[in-house]
């Protein structure tokens, strides 16, 4: 293998699994260290740089960082990254004077954003401080989009939403509530310099089965959640069936329990390993005694005398191969489940009935707009898409990242520069060495297991619909959980010319990730290391030829715990623990 090029930010960035896994590349280890240091406001502000909504995301983020977390490969459970974000948000001081502000002198450019959800708000957050005039059109009488209408208040209280959204609105956004955009053409005629579509994926999927049109107790999940959020609905029947087993289904079943549902069942077509819902959302629903019924495929809504009495399901059996894929399925029988209400939570789509099809904005055969994956521009110059409206339903953190990237494009567009004229991320590395065996980070591995989030007692939480179930970590839990983070951003930097091949680093490494050996192909090297490198997703670091023997130092990044003992045991300073900081360019950096 060729010597690894660690001068490209991607190599070390990839080692920080959480940051690499986060669409917005939030600097997770650094904010966890700030929390450990009691600097909650600083931790909050660092979060806000990249993810804009730390308090919201600290509760409801889809947390792609956690499955990626190296701790998971070392002791099964990842660091509770998401909940630590909430800790930073819960304990922050008033940070309003640290927020960006709009300049007195505007730059004369006007940008329209459609929808007051996370994508549009991120665009406003990035562009208003640069002097842009941003107008947000919102159909409803409240901001937040799906964050407010689809996420129940017992998971995300309205107060938390208001606070973080107002940080942005108060910068001087021209927010127009109750202002649905019914015609793109009309909007374009208003002469905005750029238009950003952040209208989400507001259309719940329909289930066209016999009986669908004959009863009024069949609800579309996201519409039903919205009605609950706006208090248009405050009750449901005792027996409720939820169709689908994604995160919306989890919100629907738990909401049903709070509106009078006594026997709530989530009906899944496939076995558990195919569920779309996040593990933690499934756990929370099951804690509330929701029954999840697997291998039942909906067949018919059963109507008697014009009234929904239940649903008929086909009982399924699947053949699953060793790769976990379904190879065959068959129906083994039928079963009737009585119910008062059915909620359909089988997915959602973006829908643009308000965009005229002769404006140069192209749509594909599924009515999804053609959007460039880097610039987020549609096929019409100056019209951009982001969030769920761009590529279909994803999640909040992706929408935020889309917002950041679209902001760069909008800025370039308004300044008459190429949209692809985008700054690459850069990095900074500095040694954390403080003494012979002292480092500026906590390198002592803490074997503690993941802390369990305390919940409001089952008996109490159903009294009102908006009692937040998660209480947040206690002080002791925070102290332990922050120490579970292994500081993966403190990199093992190796200087081959200094190595005397004494083996000290190899001998001390607790997880056998180092080897000095003769060079070879990657496939060959992976088999010849102190412990075979069997995770192809994790890179091998390969040094240049070592001075004494011409062999190479190889590091398998997979389970390195960043304890720094290789550097402590190195007599020549060939290893150093260097803190990596990724600098991500935002719109304001493209001045």
């Amino acid at each position: 293998m060729k010597p690894t090029d660690t001068s490209h930010p991607d190599y070390y960035h990839k080692v920080v699994d959480c940051q690499w896994g986060c669409p917005a590349h939030t600097n997770v280890p650094e904010y966890i260290r700030l929390i450990a240091n009691g600097q909650f406001s600083d931790a909050y502000m660092l979060n806000r740089e990249s993810n804009v909504f730390p308090a919201i995301l600290g509760r409801v983020c889809d947390r792609p960082c956690e499955p990626a977390c190296r701790r998971r490969r070392v002791d099964e459970k990842p660091v509770a990254i998401c909940r630590l974000k909430r800790v930073a948000a819960d304990h922050r001081d008033d940070i309003t004077d640290r927020l960006p502000t709009a300049p007195e002198q505007k730059n004369g450019k006007r940008v329209a954003c459609i929808g007051a959800g996370c994508a549009s708000l991120t665009v406003a957050n990035d562009l208003v401080p640069m002097g842009y005039e941003v107008v947000i059109y919102e159909a409803l009488d409240k901001t937040g989009g799906l964050m407010r209408t689809n996420i129940p208040a017992f998971r995300l209280p309205g107060k938390v939403l208001d606070e973080e959204i107002n940080y942005i609105v108060d910068m001087g956004v021209d927010l127009r509530l109750n202002s649905p955009v019914n015609s793109m053409q009309a909007l374009l005629e208003e002469g905005y310099d750029a238009v950003f579509v952040g209208s989400g994926a507001p259309k719940g999927k329909e289930l066209n089965l016999p009986g669908r049109d004959a009863a009024d107790r069949i609800h579309i999940g996201i519409e039903w959640l919205e009605s609950v959020a706006f208090e248009h609905l405050d009750s449901i029947g005792e027996k409720v069936l939820i169709i689908g087993v994604g995160n919306t289904a989890m919100d629907c079943c738990r909401t049903s329990l709070r509106l009078g549902g006594k026997d709530v069942k989530v009906m899944a077509r496939k076995p558990r390993e195919f569920f779309k819902a996040s593990d933690w959302e499934l756990e929370d629903a099951e804690e509330e005694q929701v029954e999840i019924v697997i291998n039942h495929s909906p067949k018919e809504f059963v109507i008697k005398e014009g009234k929904l009495v239940g649903m008929l399901f086909e009982q399924m059996e699947y053949d699953i191969d060793e790769n976990g894929r379904i190879t065959d399925s068959r129906v083994t029988g039928e079963k009737f489940f009585p119910c008062d209400d059915v909620i359909l939570a089988i997915g959602q789509e973006n829908a643009f009935p308000w965009i005229e099809r002769d404006l140069g904005i192209e749509f594909d055969q599924w009515d999804v707009p053609a959007v460039d994956a880097t610039t987020f521009q549609s096929t019409r110059a100056g019209v951009f898409f982001g969030g769920d409206s761009a590529f279909g339903p994803k999640n909040i953190i992706w929408a935020v990242e889309h917002g950041h990237q679209a902001s760069i494009s909008i800025h370039n567009y308004c300044q008459k520069r190429e949209l692809t004229d985008r700054l690459p991320p850069t990095m900074n590395l500095h040694s954390t060495k403080m003494g012979i065996h002292e480092w500026s980070y906590s390198n002592d591995y803490n074997p503690a297991s993941r802390r369990q989030m305390p919940h409001v007692e089952l008996k109490k939480r159903f009294k009102k619909i908006n009692i937040e179930v998660e209480l947040g970590f206690t002080l002791d839990q925070v102290i332990t959980e922050v120490e579970r983070c292994m500081n993966c951003d403190v990199q093992t930097a190796f200087f081959d010319k200094l190595c005397i091949e004494c083996d000290a680093c190899i001998d001390i490494c607790p997880v056998d990730c180092l080897t000095i050996t003769h060079n070879g192909s990657e496939q060959d090297l992976r088999q010849r290391l102190s412990a075979p490198a069997e995770n192809p997703e994790q890179d091998l670091f390969v040094s240049g030829d070592l001075p004494h023997t011409g062999r190479v130092m190889v590091k398998d990044e997979d389970v390195c715990v960043h304890c720094g003992l290789c550097a402590e045991r190195c007599p020549t300073g060939a290893w150093d623990m260097q803190q990596f900081k990724l600098d991500i360019p935002f719109a304001e950096d493209h001045q």
């Binding site: 065996h437 591995y445 005397i500 091949e501 001998d507 001390i508 069997e534």
Partner: protein, 351 residues
């Protein structure tokens, strides 16, 4: 010296031996030696060898004297027996322990000061008796613990850190061992585990005194230009004359050799050493020619390594003394001390 202890986290694919132990279960405390000390690599090689030999830790006794080397037993096998003796007196303690408990595996860790200066007399007599133990000398040519004075193994002309050359004749542990009746004599280098680990295993399986002289650079006081025991010098002048592969009893041989170039030696416990000659003219079974070879090549500045002399048939101390098969520790008190009448009868026999 690190302030933290070694993280308990382990590689998820770490292998277990037939006792259900991983290599990490053979570790000891954190080393307090200098970073980069060769001794720590020897510790790692010992851990590897014990793990691969599947030795139950409680069946091992670690013994040492005084010095940097003699600290190392604290860094491996924390679940075994051990005794840290007076300077240079480890061989006597080992002899006594071995006399009473003949069925433990004895590993003595010593240094060039402990064995070749203050303890030379004890060292010689343990070999003379062919005591059944593995005796490791972690040889760095200096007194590291007292800031780098030359030891008895320093070569003539080797320079101290301040540039002063050594003028005294060195004592070579390997040549001494061959002369004194050591029945297994080997030399290796802390920086070459591929050679070292099989030698440790073979030395432990050998019934008799197994001397393993390991060049173990002192990274603080003897790793500079002009030193003949530095990492660089040892690597540049390393001359392997034989390579030993060790195969434990009842394990199939997977290594393929050209017939004729390999000499298999079966040990008392059924394990085998496959001795591959690298230097054509070297004969590890002939005491006098081996000595002459080592001496002449050392004069040329070569560090001759490998299994250098072996006699698997030499009787060990228990065989020579015709002791009972059951260790004295396990004998009934009435057998060990048969009483006043028996003593009287014995004394009567000498009158």
């Amino acid at each position: 010296m690190s302030y933290i202890s070694k993280p308990v986290a382990r590689h998820p694919g770490q292998k277990k031996n037939s006792l259900g132990l991983t290599a990490r279960d053979y570790e000891g405390g954190m080393s307090t030696l200098c970073a980069g000390c060769g001794h720590d690599s020897i510790t790692a090689a010992l851990i590897q060898a014990f793990f691969e030999l599947e030795v139950p830790p409680h069946r091992v006794a670690k013994l040492s004297g005084i010095g940097c080397s003699s600290k190392t037993p604290a860094y491996f096998l924390s679940a075994s027996h051990g005794l840290n003796s007076v300077h240079g007196r480890m061989p006597s303690i080992a002899t006594g322990a071995n006399a009473a408990c003949s069925d433990l595996t004895y590993v003595g860790i010593s240094g060039d000061g402990d064995s070749l200066s203050i303890g030379l007399g004890q060292f010689a007599h343990a070999m003379r008796r062919n005591l059944n133990m593995l005796y490791i000398i972690e040889n760095n040519g200096v007194y590291g613990l007292t800031k780098g004075q030359f030891s008895a193994s320093a070569d003539i002309g080797s320079k101290s850190k301040r540039g002063v050359p050594n003028r005294f004749e060195p004592i070579d542990p390997v040549l001494t061992a061959i002369a004194m009746g050591g029945s297994f004599v080997a030399r290796s280098f802390s920086g070459d585990k591929q050679q070292l680990v099989p030698l440790i295993k073979a030395g432990m399986a050998h019934k008799g005194f197994a001397l393993l002289d390991i060049i173990s650079p002192c990274v603080t006081f003897n790793d500079h230009d002009g030193s003949t025991k530095s990492y660089k010098y040892t690597r540049d002048n390393f001359t392997e004359v034989t390579h030993a592969d060790f195969v434990p009893p009842a394990q199939e041989i997977t290594i393929k050799y050209d017939q004729g170039s390999v000499q298999p030696v079966t040990l008392h416990d059924g394990s085998r050493i496959y001795l591959r000659k690298i230097a054509e003219d070297y004969d590890p079974s002939d005491r006098s020619s081996a000595s002459a070879y080592i001496q002449s090549h050392q004069e040329k500045g070569e560090v001759v390594t490998g299994l250098l002399y072996m006699n698997s048939d030499a009787p060990d101390m228990h065989a020579t003394n015709q002791t009972v098969a059951t260790p004295l520790r396990d004998q009934d008190y009435s057998v060990l001390c048969p009483g006043a009448d028996a003593l009287k009868a014995l004394q009567h026999g000498y009158r």
